[in-house]
């Protein structure tokens, strides 16, 4: 920004630049709001926890004897089915949370509160990434609550694994949140949301390594195996699984990172008032 232009316009010092403080204050405000909303919406809080716990307590218990998991990376020994699906259920929390954020973006856009964010004096891309980050923090807290409960169900990765999984959860959360953001820029009305979600959440979750190892899928159907490999969620789950056992799956990391960048770029394009879908459809709020 040209100093002389600003000086001529009499711009106050505080308005001149995007100071680090202003960026942090904005992020803090958005994060605080998301956390408050999460705590106040108790139904959302419990639903987020109950969903994976039902899978862990009921589905996994029922399938334990049928779906024993042999020794495979990152595990050093045979593991219970509950242990195997826990990273996938963490992924499920992030997936549902990402889609929940997407739904909330569409709702906010229809109700108007999204406009308050978008007319703030900061670059729109920063505002959207800050909102995405806040959603990821909330989702990560949910994932840790789930892991804490799973510990009592004898799902006990190494203690350091709880720390090592944090960046994996955050990155996976970013990827799925960015996908949600992209979808929210494409969905025109709240009514269309359920339909779109059916085509996103369920195929992503079931056509992945969340519930069964890929070698088993490959044995059953080579085509499905290929689909699983193309599915970004598979790589997010593997990234979480390996991190939880203090290992790094490089391919999963690179693929998750790549999809994050792509989804984020699409979402920012979608919300750009100059070029995006919103300007074209006239619902730029």
């Amino acid at each position: 920004m040209h100093a002389d232009v600003l000086a001529r316009a009499g711009v106050r010092e505080a308005d001149r630049g995007l100071t680090f403080y202003r960026l942090i204050r904005c992020l803090e405000g958005i994060l605080q709001r998301e956390l408050l909303r999460f705590l106040k919406q108790r139904g959302r809080f419990f639903a987020a926890l109950v969903r994976p716990l039902v899978w862990l307590f009921i589905f996994a218990a029922g399938f334990r004897s049928i779906l024993g998991v042999s020794i495979q990376e990152p595990y050093d020994t045979y593991v219970l089915y509950e242990v195997y699906i826990t990273p996938g259920l963490c992924g499920m929390i992030l997936l549902f949370s990402g889609m929940q954020s997407s739904l909330s973006m569409v709702y906010d856009r229809e109700m108007g509160s999204m406009r308050v964010l978008l007319v703030s004096p900061l670059p729109r891309s920063y505002l959207l990434v800050a909102k995405l980050f806040a959603g990821v923090v909330v989702a990560t807290i949910q994932a840790y609550l789930f892991l804490a409960i799973a510990w009592f169900w004898e799902v006990r990765p190494p203690l350091l694994g709880y720390l090592a999984v944090l960046p994996a959860l955050m990155l996976s959360g970013f990827m799925l949140g960015a996908l949600g953001l992209l979808l929210s820029s494409l969905i025109r009305q709240l009514e269309n949301f359920a339909g779109v979600m059916n085509f996103v959440i369920f195929p992503m979750f079931f056509a992945s390594s969340a519930l069964y190892p890929l070698w088993r899928v490959k044995e059953a159907s080579y085509l499905l195996y290929q689909i699983c490999l193309l599915n970004p969620f598979t790589h997010a789950v593997e990234l979480i699984r390996f991190a939880m056992y203090l290992k790094l799956e490089e391919q999963a990391l690179l693929v998750t990172l790549g999809w994050t960048v792509l989804f984020l770029a699409g979402a920012l394009y979608g919300y750009n008032p100059q070029r995006g879908f919103l300007a074209a459809t006239g619902k730029g709020e």
Partner: protein, 242 residues
Amino acid sequence: MTPALAIEGVSFAYVRDRRALDGISLTVPRGSFTALLGPNGAGKTTLMALTTRLFHAREGRIIVCGLDLARHACAALARMGVVFQRPTLDEDLSVRQNLRYAAALHGLDRARTRERMQAVLARLGIEALEPRVVRTLSGGERRRVELARALMHEPELLVLDEPTVGLDIDSRRAIVEHVHDLCRRDGVAVLWTTHLIDEIEPGDRVVVLHRGRVRAQGTLEEILSCTQTSSLAQAYAKLTAD
């Protein structure tokens, strides 16, 4: 002195070959109350969306306090307070939490936030609402809280898009008086869109928008003179007859 808002030759189309706004030019002088008057579908909300950067104007320029919105959006938006047509408060949060959120988005530190919150709530006579959850407020109270939120960062230009929609007569009157008072006492420039001519007071500037074009603009007296009518109702009817 540069005006608080200058819109120069702005056009906008949602679909090709069908312009919602066509060559709009208008100014909002500093410290003035400017009413953007037009029937439903005139293009008022579209113009508001362009002025607040929700949409991007492909043709023309929007200058806020001397700053081109396309080039210096952040600095321009820092000088603008906005009240939207539909309520945009977070209903699950308290008034205090909503105001804090707005202050954070504008980069106000905590001490300044507290100071401004007390000042704007007192200014609008709604200090008692501070701890209340928005969901429990009446329509008129919510509108005043939205106005308080728009004033948190001391804007030089206040943009209000049909802020009295859905309010009863008393609440509507109160909001109109509050905003006129802000203009007179604090020197805030106001752009107020409406389709209700009784919200306009003597001394206000008026811009009549119809079918995406400015049909007339000036003081009330100038509008009456150029339309050769004796009341704003007559002038408005004449300007929007086609």
